[in-house]
């Protein structure tokens, strides 16, 4: 692993943590529904770093959380979070980063905004909820149908976050093209 890769992985894990610790944004279009920015971090890591580095960043984040750092939204952390019904989402972040990064790399030739939007929506909504719902069903003892219903209200928020991630990727591509590592790896 190159030094630069190591630092980038640590950087995106840290960005993820900072997104959870920042005061909540009032997102536009969300009609005042408070949304933590944290799950954006997983999509961002994938879209910016590409599949493997993005997934590694999420592994590092979960590792540090398990070591005892309160880095998840609302100051949660430690080993306890891995026994809560949201555990599917936490492990899902690894897959989210990997899938969004993989799509981003596959669409290297496409314009940034649509590629990043597809990557973020597929990774951050489809993949994340597949994991999240499975975790909810297993830990919460619910049927998959019920677990899906319990998660449904959060999907619009994550769809908005996916759009934001695509906008950010586009802005970054304009301001500092070499920063979009998923494109020049």
């Amino acid at each position: 692993m190159k030094d630069r890769t190591l630092v980038q992985v640590a950087l995106y894990a840290a960005i993820f943590a900072v997104l959870g610790l920042l005061p909540r944004f009032d997102l536009p279009f969300a009609a005042g529904v408070p949304i933590t920015a944290q799950s954006m971090g997983a999509m961002l890591a994938g879209v910016m770093l590409g599949a493997w580095r993005g997934a590694l960043a999420m592994v590092l984040l979960l590792f540090v959380v398990a070591l005892g750092a309160p880095l998840l939204a609302g100051g949660r952390g430690g080993l306890g979070v891995f026994f809560s019904p949201s555990v599917g989402f936490f492990f899902g972040w690894i897959a989210v980063a990997f899938v969004s990064g993989w799509i981003m790399q596959a669409l290297r030739k496409a314009p940034v905004f649509p590629a990043a939007l597809l990557a973020a929506v597929f990774g951050g909504v489809v993949v994340m909820y597949a994991f999240g719902i499975a975790g909810m069903a297993l830990v919460g003892g619910l049927s998959v149908m019920d677990a899906t219903k319990a998660c449904l209200i959060f999907i619009p928020g994550d769809a908005i976050k996916a759009v934001l991630v695509a906008l950010i990727a586009q802005t970054v591509a304009r301001g500092m093209p070499e920063a979009l590592l998923s494109r020049n790896a």
Partner: protein, 203 residues
């Protein structure tokens, strides 16, 4: 270091981290398939008794569960809707007991002790040319980056406020990403100048 760690020493602080992790893994494996309400309630009571034995500061930490309550209510509501409140209570008792038990391990184990306890598990990384010491470096780098990134965000927010009089919010994310990447380039260069990250072959 930021942590959920209890500064006040308790008897559980003296137990080696590896034993605590092993005990936690065993309890979670045993509790997962059990579906009896008295057993799960018993487990919960036992965990609560553990908290009481750790002192008042530990009991106060139970408040960490607060963000989970809405989720618990939703879970219970679904089980009630399906006509099996008992199953809901079993699930709830199991989740509460396991979350509290895992938090008790976190509360009484320093992060470096935890890192030392899991380092043997990272040894297989060596087979793929990785290094457990590179993992330790990544962990330290990440933790050190968090306050730096906060300061960076605050600086961006302040200049946005100076220009518009409003909070920047999500609009700061793109410049934030660009600036943090610049920061990471400098960090990588500084790391290379000091001999680079540990590699598997160079242990």
């Amino acid at each position: 270091m930021i942590s959920l760690y209890l500064a006040q020493r308790t008897w559980l602080h003296g137990v080696p981290a590896g034993w605590k992790l092993l005990a936690l893994a065993l309890v979670s494996l045993i509790a997962a398939p059990l579906d009896s309400l008295p057993l799960m309630a018993g487990l919960l009571v036992a965990v609560l008794a553990l908290y009481v034995s750790l002192g008042r500061a530990a009991v106060a930490q139970i408040a960490l569960l607060r963000p989970l309550w809405p989720l618990f209510l939703i879970l219970l509501a679904f089980h009630w809707w399906n006509g099996d409140v008992t199953a809901g209570l079993v699930v709830l008792a199991r989740i509460l007991a396991m979350v509290l038990l895992a938090n008790a391990v976190t509360m009484t184990t320093r992060m470096d002790a935890m890192m030392d306890a899991v380092e043997p598990l990272l040894a297989p990384l060596g087979w793929f040319g990785g290094s457990p010491r590179a993992v330790a470096l990544a962990v330290a780098l990440m933790i050190r980056l968090i306050p730096l990134l906060f300061a960076l965000w605050e600086a961006l927010n302040e200049s946005w406020r100076a220009r518009t009089g409003k909070r920047g919010g999500w609009r700061l994310l793109a410049p934030f990403c660009i600036q943090t990447l610049r920061l990471s380039h400098h960090t990588a260069e500084a790391l290379a100048a000091r001999g680079g990250a540990p590699r598997g072959t160079r242990r």
